[in-house]
Amino acid sequence: MIQLFRVSKVYPPNYLALTDIHLQVKKGEFVFLSGPSGAGKTTLLKLLFRAEEAAGGQIIVSGRNITRLKGAGLARLRQEIGLVFQDFKLIPYMTALENVALAAEVIGTSKRESKSKAFHLLRELGLKDKYDAFPPALSGGEQQRVAIARALVNDPTLVLADEPTGNLDPEMAEEIIRLFLRIHERQTTILIATHDTRLMKQFNQRVVLLQRGRIMEDSELVESENTS
């Protein structure tokens, strides 16, 4: 699903955010991308949905080299990826339903179908009484669930989440990760950037540890080395 070969990223003037990244994530895998603040987690995710361009190396997502992707190709890539952010990125003057439906409408789904899909997703995520609420009237956990519903509305094959529990209390954070696990059961590939070690221990999934822009540890590799 995701392959990175010797990927690097430099921010001006010459800050090395990522160095020599090799990473493979299989289709349907669930991966925690961990590390302290400034380790390069967000940058790595941004490279995967081409919000940033790599300085070197090659990035393959769903069999396509996205390293220099632009225009229509970039739009198509993003239609296959669901994105979730720490600050939710919800439009405050649109209802929960409109926020979710917007993502479907812009890629050509009819208004009626978009609203229907959004409604079903919000109900599935436990927000059936909140679909006409505006984001400022929702709790942090509810807002993040609306954001997750928006990420899922176009049936993505890959979900990238950048610190999705960063603004939530521990109970709500657990609930959100459980939600991602439920999505993962549909064979959706999930990549979550987080520095919450407690969550990673509790949910026992593959963990890729980043430090100062380098991959320092990959639990999958450690496991395979231990078994061999």
Binding site: R76, K89, L102, E105
Partner: protein, 299 residues
Amino acid sequence: MTLSQVAFVLRRVFGSLRDLFWTHFLTSGTMAMTLFVFGGFLLLQENLTRLFSGWSNQLQIFAYLEEGVKGSELQSIRKRLQSYPEVESIRYVSKKEAWENFRRDLGAQSSVLEGLEEGLLPSSLEITVKKPYRERSRVAELANRLKGEKGVGAVEYPEEWIEKLSMLLLAVQWAKWIFGGFLFMASLLIVGSTVKLAIMARQQEIEIMQLVGASQGMIKAPFVIEGMIQGMVGASFSILFLWLLLLVLSARLPSSLGIFLPTGRLHFLDLWHVVYLFSLGWMLGAAGTLFSLRRFLRT
């Protein structure tokens, strides 16, 4: 673009026109002023051209006869001149008639002529030139030939006025593009600022649209359509104002000027010019929007 996407774009356009009504209205007003000035020059040019052609239609050369030319000599001159290919008709104006005309033209001041001899003015031939020969250079050439005719003293034609009117027409054409050009640039900047405001107002939506994979066309199309609508609304207002201006001017037009206009009154822009102003309007709106999108839309 699918039908659903077209519907989505149109919903966004109408949403923006509603939410930023006054901003769009003021931009349309600015464009209306620009197109009004441009259209005003167009109107002036149109009517001057008609006035010019009206004058040209009445173009006559006055060949003053030498003292004592009359009878068979006069007939022979008329015959010779009538054989010129440029000459449409010839009318003889006797000394007496010339004097009467002069008196009539002086009107209230005609008393200054009292005591003067009636035969003071020379008799003349008023020569009407055929239409294809009513160009300045051809008329000048004909006048020169007439001067060489035996029995013809002096030759006059409204050369100065034709030249002045031609210069005025040229000046109007230039002024239209110079003033119009400046105002078009100003309008582009104002449309650009409106688009910048619209982008800022919808920054979050645009960001989300980009993140979920909306194409550049889907993101930019509503802004471009809004710009085109502003331009067309501006053009409609400018045409309305031009029409009102024409009504006011027509009411104050000196009746003496009306006789030179083919229909006896000022003429409004023809359909082609109206379409031209509309096209300029929407193109101005679209160009200002695209210029601003390139500057302010982060992709």
